[in-house]
């Protein structure tokens, strides 16, 4: 997957770059508005991450140019301004998703995967990890070809873990992904723990070899190796 990151804050750029590299993605960066316009004008990407507030211009214009030149490219706006206008206008201009800063890197990865799946495979792409098979479009999970009934939340949780396989996920990243703003109220860790336990139980009951590892004091990891 080839991704362009348009972001002026160097440290944040470095983090995102490193994290996406770790996911095996090819990432290019643009530091300001002219660079973003040049790169999006010349090259084609699977997905572009655009900050709205850029030196020498607005990320919204980058979105506009991308939409006319490369309609197939997935666009995610990452903005710290948090003003509603930007979100609405960005989506109106044709951005596919909006992620407010500060965000968890695993959340960004999950959204990127979902976006590219939607754009390139029309959402119809199975994720197969040995005996486990997920069809995100239908919220369907199978173990050894046998359907596992999961709740919506359990499915979201599993998809989030799978999208970030082999990475350590902090409890707060998971909680925020699953419960959104209510994550605040869930800070009793055992709620996430029991949620995770139920998911693992449902899957292992169908003969799945548990690949979810607890990382002591920090969170969880879905391992494939």
């Amino acid at each position: 997957m080839k991704v362009l990151l348009v972001e002026d804050e160097p440290e944040l750029r470095r983090s995102v770059l490193a994290y996406l590299h770790g996911e095996g993605m090819v990432v290019e960066v643009a530091r300001d508005f002219p660079e973003a316009m040049d790169k999006t004008g010349l090259f084609t990407y699977d997905a572009v991450l655009v900050d709205i507030t850029l030196p020498k211009g607005s990320g919204l214009d980058v979105v506009r140019q991308l939409r006319t030149k490369h309609p197939g490219t997935g666009i995610i706006i990452i903005s710290a301004k948090g003003s509603l206008d930007d979100k609405v206008r960005g989506l109106e201009l044709g951005a596919d998703d909006y992620l407010a800063k500060p965000f968890h890197l695993p959340e960004l990865v999950a959204r990127l995967h979902a976006l590219v799946r939607r754009k390139t495979f029309n959402g119809r792409q199975d994720i197969v990890l040995d005996e486990l098979r997920l069809v995100p479009e239908d919220k369907l999970v199978e173990v050894h070809g046998e359907r596992v009934e999961l709740t919506g939340m359990q499915f979201d949780l599993l998809l989030f873990l799978v999208a970030n396989k082999d990475r350590v996920l902090s409890r707060s990243a998971i909680a925020e992904h699953v419960w959104g703003d209510h994550a605040e109220a869930m800070d009793e860790h055992d709620l996430l723990y029991s949620h995770m336990k139920n998911l693992r139980k449902k899957l292992t009951e169908h003969g799945w070899q548990d690949r979810i590892k607890t990382v002591y004091g920090i969170g969880y990891r879905f391992t494939t190796t």
Binding site: E9, E11, L12, R14, S15, V16, A18, Y19, G22, T53, A80, K81, G82, S83, L84, D85, A100, K101, P102, F103, H104, L105, P106, G152, M153, R167, V168, S170, R171, S172, A173, E176, W179, G180, D181, H182, A183, E184, A185, M186, D187, E188, D190, L191, S194, H195, V215, Y216, G217, I218, G219
Partner: protein, 416 residues
């Protein structure tokens, strides 16, 4: 009542008594004049007859259908006029007459009274006609006046109505046209003042909005950097228990700060009225938020019930509606006790959230203030309920909290 209708009504209320009084007064004035004239004629006639009597002529003028003359051998003290009713053959009925009694000396030298009467039927008709003409003229004058006034008012008040129209469509975040100059000084003054007010409102709005955007950018960017580094950090192999503990604390602090910043910016935006109202599916909203909190409710064995009496018509921006519902439900779960309950009732004019729970150690009056927390060590931002309050105040909704015997009730209702 419209200004125009109010003036018209006042005109009418004034015109009716004036026309009536004018007609009646006209009637009496004309009648008085006619009587004076008649009396003069009758007196002349009587003088003439009295002179003839004095000259020894006893022959009286022939009777006419509308006049009769009599000489009575009576003494009378002076000239007396009066109205009377007598039968008249020509009119075949009793009709009004004007009569004079005039003292004279009879042919025989004895006292005599000349009585002359004249029918006044045609004069009555005249009087009535004249009175009606007066009334009619008055009515015409009033009607004319009214129409001219109405036309003038419509014309004169047009700039005012234009101004009202533009004010009704004023939006603080949309471009606007200056209110125009008119030919009327008062309206010019009003439009000038309103122009200045709207310009200030828009300037303040833009400045406030720019400030909250800049503040957001300056606060959220470093938070994003922190978050990114933490997410990277936990990927390091061989993190010990000590490091894990510290990272855990950092994560929580980062989150808490992020929430506070986010909520404070949201509060600033609500105060700045950046959110336009729209219809809301409150039932779906409560169901969705309750589903998100289902895990927490289950763990605390809190029973949730949603009852919809009627579709709720309250309008709010979707983001704000979610904020209100999410905060109220979250509070209802958090401040509940094990095995408690939450009841939501939705009606057309608002909704009520009731929950069981221990009595708060916070003054209910202060509950909606910023940074008020039931438990000071709680990691909540203390801004949740104050945001609900701010949203309700700005949307013109009434927000009430009451507590009785461990039952907490929050009402969100349209204000009358």
């Amino acid at each position: 009542m419209k200004l125009l209708h109010r003036t018209a009504l006042n005109h009418l209320l004034l015109a009716i008594p004036l026309v009536v009084i004018g007609t009646v007064a006209g009637h009496y004035a004309v009648r008085h004049a006619v009587n004076d004239e008649l009396d003069e004629q009758l007196q002349h006639h009587a003088e003439l007859i009295a002179a003839r009597l004095a000259a020894g002529e006893s022959e009286l003028p022939a009777e006419a259908p509308d006049q009769f003359v009599q000489v009575l051998p009576e003494r009378s003290t002076g000239i007396a006029f009066r109205d009377t009713l007598l039968y008249n053959a020509a009119e075949e009925g009793v009709i009004p007459w004007r009569m004079v009694r005039y003292p004279a000396v009879g042919v025989d030298g004895g006292p005599a009274t000349v009585v002359i009467a004249r029918a006044t039927v045609e004069y009555e008709d005249l009087v009535t006609t004249v009175a009606l003409v007066i009334g009619g003229l008055l009515l015409l004058v009033f009607l004319g006046n009214f129409l001219v006034d109405r036309w003038l008012n419509t014309r004169l008040w047009r700039p005012f109505h234009n101004t009202l129209d533009q004010l009704a469509h004023f939006q603080v975040d949309a471009p606007r046209n200056e209110l125009p100059r008119t030919g009327i000084t008062e309206f010019n003054a009003m439009n000038g003042t309103l122009n200045a007010m709207m310009a200030k409102l828009q300037r303040d709005f833009t400045a406030q909005k720019r400030f909250s955007e800049q503040a957001a950018h300056e606060l959220q960017t470093p938070l994003a950097v922190m978050q990114g580094k933490l997410d990277e950090l936990i990927q390091m192999p061989e993190l010990g228990e000590l490091e894990a503990g510290m990272i855990e604390v950092l994560y929580r602090a980062r989150e808490r700060m992020g929430r506070t910043v986010q909520n404070m910016l949201l509060l600033a935006r609500i105060g700045n009225m950046e959110y336009a109202a729209a219809p809301v599916d409150w039932q779906a909203l409560f169901q969705d938020q309750a589903a998100l909190l289902a895990g927490l409710m289950e763990r605390r064995a809190v029973h949730f019930q949603l009852h919809v009496d009627k579709r709720c018509e309250l309008r709010l921006h979707p983001v704000l509606a979610e904020l209100v519902v999410a905060n109220l439900l979250r509070n209802a779960v958090q401040h509940n006790h094990e095995g408690g309950s939450i009841n939501v009732r939705i009606g057309s004019e608002g909704f009520v959230v009731t929950n069981s729970g221990p009595t708060l150690n916070v003054d209910p009056e202060r509950l909606f203030e910023r940074f008020t927390k039931g438990d000071p060590s709680s990691e909540g931002s203390g801004l949740g309920l104050s945001m609900v309050k701010e949203v309700c105040d700005n949307a013109g909704l009434r927000l009430e909290y009451t507590e009785a015997a461990g039952v907490h009730t929050v009402v969100v209702h349209r204000t009358r």
